[in-house]
């Protein structure tokens, strides 16, 4: 079935249980799909844009109210929607980082944080994760001291991922933020895998900024995200334009340079808004998501030779698993080589594992029902048994 010339209609999530590590939290709610239908036209949210002509002031649809609710929900003072978390990193880096400034990241930071620093001329310095692949407050303090020795000043900014993309491990952001505050280092909380997934309280963690991803974790269309700030930082990152044209003498009202004027228009924003009540509610039930994930983990770990590379017990539904001594051993002699696992999963209506991956791979069970989690667990065990792997229990 096609939805346009040469464009196959995508039916992945209707036909399969999709455990792709980055797609799980961004699946649209039914309300978001309905909003996509109604607000697909380019400038659809601008019908009722009135003075002062800025996206976050629009009352119909209730965009202004949504911004206020979002800030309250995150326990921050101001928020803007942005085209993806990366644009949030970029806005903050561009505000605080000048050429040659040291910036604190971690050995598990997402590449877009590095690019945001690079674009502003900053120099990346990473807090190393420990043997358990966790970034600790002590390691943060050590790195800040090292940066002070190297640059004769503290880093101008720190980016800390609450849950990292490599292992799905949960890092002590509150502890790291406490250390950063002692050195007056503003801290950006990267909530790409948490905002919209589990409860996030910016002020309780003591961070200056909260960045979230709409398409990764807030059941919103791509590209979408949020950037929230404290009252102190709001004036800096969301400063308004001061430029004047020398010929026309034009000025540009309350447009914000870091946001390049209006940010998310149309379907991305209204999709995020439509999902928001459901997203708020689902974060209260993260324990159920973890219970479903554990069911699948128990099944995987019952297969002899399989180990969990992420912290364990799991605190997040995205996990990095090592099947070198289990599924990969089968791949060595299987006629489909490494593709047998993906093929066997797809036969059972499961997708999202990288084709050919049998050594180390990631998966995410977020959003699955109990029945679907049981199907996943049963399927992994069945595939193992069918291929002669030993299964405990």
């Amino acid at each position: 079935m096609r939805c346009g010339q040469g464009i196959e209609a995508r039916q992945v999530d209707e036909l399969f249980i999709n455990i792709d590590p980055i797609q799980a939290g961004g699946r649209l709610t039914a309300d978001a799909m309905k909003a996509v239908v109604a607000y697909g036209d380019g400038y659809s949210v601008c019908d009722n844009c009135r003075k002062p002509n800025r996206l976050d002031y629009i009352a119909k649809p209730p965009i202004a109210e949504f911004h206020k609710d979002l800030a309250t929900w995150l326990n921050m003072d101001a928020v803007r929607t942005v085209p993806g978390a990366r644009r949030g990193f970029q806005a903050v880096a561009h505000t605080y980082v000048k050429k040659g400034d040291p910036v604190l990241l971690t050995s598990l930071s997402h590449y877009t944080e590095f690019l945001a620093v690079e674009e502003s001329g900053g120099i990346a310095r990473e807090i190393p994760a420990n043997g358990q692949k966790l970034v600790t407050p002590d390691a943060a303090a050590e790195k800040i001291e090292a940066v002070k020795k190297e640059f004769s000043r503290a880093p101008v900014l720190a980016f800390i991922d609450h849950v990292d993309y490599q292992y799905g491990n949960m890092h002590d952001v509150a502890g790291i933020a406490k250390v950063c505050r002692q050195y007056d280092v503003p801290i950006v909380y990267n909530g790409a895998y948490t905002v919209g997934i589990l409860p996030v309280d910016g002020k309780a963690m003591g961070v200056d900024f909260v960045v979230g991803s709409g398409h990764k974790s807030m059941a919103a269309p791509a590209p979408s995200g949020i950037l929230a700030a404290t009252a102190e930082r709001e004036k800096e990152v969301f400063r308004t334009t001061a430029i004047t044209g020398d010929v026309t003498n034009r000025t540009f009202g309350i447009k914000e340079p870091e946001m390049m004027g209006c940010t998310l228009m149309g379907v991305t924003l209204v999709g995020m808004m439509a999902s928001f009540p459901h997203v708020k509610e689902r974060t209260k039930h993260f324990d159920k998501e973890l219970a479903n994930h554990q069911l699948v983990m128990d099944a995987l770990l019952s297969i002899a030779g399989t180990t969990c590379l992420s912290e364990y017990p799991r605190k997040h539904t995205m996990t990095r698993i090592n099947t070198v001594e289990s599924f990969d051993r089968i791949a060595e002699t299987h006629k489909k080589r490494g593709y047998y696992l993906q093929s066997a999963l797809e036969e059972r209506g499961i997708t999202g594992v990288i084709p050919g991956a049998t050594k180390v791979w990631k998966f995410n069970t977020y959003g699955t029902t109990r029945k679907q989690a049981e199907h996943l667990a049963r399927s992994f065990v069945e595939i193992a048994r069918e291929n002669g792997l030993s299964v405990k229990g």
Partner: protein
Amino acid sequence: MSKRAVDMTFQAIYTLTDLRALLRETAPTHEFDAKQREQAQRLLENLERQVGSLKQEMLK
């Protein structure tokens, strides 16, 4: 043509969207439990009614 025809078009798409959500929730087997079966039946009846209204509005 009327506002009613437009409303019914959207309503029907939204009902289909709810059915789509049900397919996602029950993938890959699409085996419904009693509650889901009841929900599917209600949605399909609504859809029939909405399409009926659309016929009336668009073909009169």
